[in-house]
Structure formats: C-alpha cells, structure tokens
Symmetry: C2
Subunit: 243 residues, 2 copies
C-alpha cells in the first residue's frame, strides 16, 4: 500500500508521500514515490504515485526518457505549455505502459492498478493539481475539495476534512498532512516512514523546500505526541453522554 | 455498509451500531443492527451485525426461534452457561444459515459476508465480548485491544486508538464512540443515522441504558461541532513545520 496527499492552497502546493513498498508483509522496502521535474524560473512538476511499483516506475521513466529523446518534436514535461497538457502526457505514459505490460499482467492475474497525484506550475499559469487514473484520464482539484489522497486514504481523511482551509500557510498545511500520516501509519503497516514532502510556494518555480522526514525526526515525534495529548485534553473538555 | 463498535471496559460494555442498509446508493433504508436478549438479574446478551442483511436477520431469527422451540434440549442463548457457549451458538447459527443459503448465494455471485460483535454477561462470569466471523469461528476481546469494530472501520479508528482507556466511565466511552461515528458518517454515505447505543454496567443484568440517537439529537450535534472547534484549536496550538 501507499499513502500520498496533495493540497492545493492559496499560497502554493503541498505534496507528501510515504516510501514503503511491499510484496507481502515479509518483503518490504523503501522507494521514493515523490518525483519532481524542474526548470528554474520556468516550471516545477511533481508526481506522487500509488499502485504497482513496476508500473509507476515505468511511467516515471517514460516521462523522463521522452524529455531527453530527440527523435521527434512531441511535447514533453519540459515543453508542455500548460499543466493540463502535462496531465495529458502523464495519462499517455500510463496508457503506453498499459499497452506494453497490461496483457501480461492480466494473464498473471495481476491488475493494472496505479494512481497519481500530479501538481505543479508553469510560468503564465497558476499552480494546478490533478489526479490521474489507471485509464490515463484525470480530474483537476477544485476549490470545494482542496486536497487529493491516493492509496490508504481512510484513516487520514477525518483530520483533513475537519482542518483543511485553502488559506493555510504551507508550514501549517505540512503540520496537518503529517498528522494525517501519523493516523495512517498507526493503523496500516504497509504505509511506512520516511515521508517525502515538498512545499511549493506559488511563483517560486523551485523545489528547494523538499524534505525527507525520517522515523526519528524530532519534529514528527513531538507532533505525534502532542497531538495525542491535545486530543485527549479536548476530549476531556466535552460533556459526557448521559442516558 | 455498516459501522458498529463494541468496547469492553472495566465498568461494563458499550455497543453502538448505525442503522443504514443499502442496496446501491438509490435504495437505502433503516434497519436495527443492535439486538438484545435479556433475562433480568441473570443475563444480558447483545449482538451487533454487519454484512448481508438477509443473512444477519436469518441468524438473529434462528437464535430467537431456538429459545422458544421446545423440540429438544439443546442449549440456547437463554440457557447457555457462559458467554463462550453463547459465542458458539452464534457461530452455529451462522453455519446453519450458510448451509441453507450459501450455495444459492454463491450461484448468484453473492458472497456469504457477515460479521458480528457479541457481548454480554451471564451471572457468575465477568462481562465478555467476541467477534464472530462468517465461518462461525470467533475471537474474544483482550486487554490489549479493548474495542472491536465491524463494517466501515477505518475512518473512526484513529480517535479510538488515541483515546480509548479501559478505565473510562461508560458515559465517557459513549462520547468517544459517537465521535468515532461522526468521523465515519462524514466520509461514508452508506453509514447513516440514527445510531443505536447500549451502555451496559457490570452486574446490572439490564438493558435499560439503551438509546437511539437521531439525526437532530442535540447532544450529538453539539458534540460534533465542539469537537471540530477543539480539534482546530488544538491544531493551532502546535508549532508549524519548518523547512
């Protein structure tokens, strides 16, 4: 399993992904699921992936290969004019991988399961965020629902539902997303530390606010502990049920 | 879907169940999923059910019919000497229904899906709580995990994980369980109000603390609102993430 979250805020975008990959409970490993492409002062593109690792890696590799391939003049992540075009490129790459591997996966009774959160900014546009499906089609984040989740999304959703606001600062949103991860990590062993996170401020066209949060990260440990304490305190402040 | 919770506490047992049944999103109805059998001053047995409604109703009906049937001297819910024996009776009833309906369900590509939370007290024993599976086998709650959930359990689990303590008062536990329901109701349409709840105090052998919480229940509405407020407040009190 996997847990990834993307937030589209007034001040920018926030991406977070766990790093656990597992084939059964006795075969776990750490793989990066947060991928970025960047052209300073011009564009930043981020992709979070959930699903079959072979498929997600193939999609990411294809997207990167197309950039350096000089064989034709098709659009790439680095030349697409809008994030909508980028989303279509990601969708096409998913379909390309499906064409190559889909049949063989089906005959091994493996499903072609993959989902992506795609976000970024290209100069001339506002930051945008999309969810790309296994069929290569996609939706864009709207104001009504400023966050996207892929993978094991249920444990971490209540806190996002209650606290997310579009006008949050990115550091505030990062705190929120880490709490959402904390709830998920406690309940699903197939979601695991470290967590990769990228805070993108609108119009910076830079990925410099990228960080990996390790198991023993002091901020994360303190956050987890004080959240539990405060939750219990808040709980104690509410009247008991009487019947 | 369904959401049911059972807590085994030092002072007694708490049961809660939603009442929504659905066959598709365009066919929803209210059915009671909390069932009780009682012999004053002697025994109280409670069963919460999740899964195919036809199956769970058949199991409950069988258990009730066996009590009044005079055809033989087999043990029933009202004569079993221990809660362990009661759990075996529930398991047997599940197997009996499977024998009757299982094959026909299989040929209609319907699975035999059902789970129960069973709890209660028989004079001479402490209160006990079990989870009974579709195969008719079961587990008993241990001190390490004082709560059981069946149905749509993920959204409401983080709050139970963080706050549950065996030494809670029942009214406190009822508040906790209602918060767990609130998180679930917000995210899964197939879990719906009203909520049936039973607070059982050890050695009372009575079901008098049973209540149905309707959509417009003032306590529930206030709880939901003040929890959201307090959560946001607690969230604001924690340092932001910095990178």
């Amino acid at each position: 399993m996997t847990y990834c979250v993307g937030l589209k805020l007034d001040r920018g975008l926030l991406f977070a992904a766990d790093t656990r990959t597992n084939a059964g409970v006795d075969n776990i490993a750490t793989f990066k699921k947060l991928h970025t492409w960047e052209e300073p002062n011009e564009r930043v593109i981020t992709l979070l992936s959930a699903g079959n690792l072979a498929i997600t890696q193939a999609v990411v590799s294809l997207l990167s290969e197309h950039i350096t391939s000089v064989e034709d003049d098709r659009a790439t992540l680095m030349t697409a004019k809008t994030m909508f075009q980028v989303a279509r490129l990601v969708g096409s790459a998913v379909r390309e991988v499906k064409e190559i591997d889909g049949e063989a996966l089906a005959t091994s009774a493996e499903s072609f399961f993959v989902t992506f959160i795609l976000g970024g900014q290209i100069r001339g546009e506002e930051p945008r965020m999309f969810q790309v499906y296994a069929a290569g089609n996609f939706i864009e984040v709207s104001e009504d629902t400023p966050f996207l989740q892929i993978g094991e999304h249920k444990y971490g959703k209540p806190i996002l539902d209650r606290v997310t606001r579009s006008d949050m600062r990115l550091g505030e949103a990062a705190k929120l997303v880490l709490l959402s991860f904390d709830s998920t990590l406690r309940s699903n062993l197939s979601v695991g530390m470290p967590i990769d996170m990228l805070l993108y401020n609108t119009d910076t066209f830079s990925t410099e606010r990228q960080v990996r949060i390790e198991q023993n990260d002091p901020y994360f440990r303190k956050l987890s502990q004080s959240w539990s304490d405060k939750l219990r305190e808040a709980f104690g402040d509410i009247d008991e049920f009487e019947v």
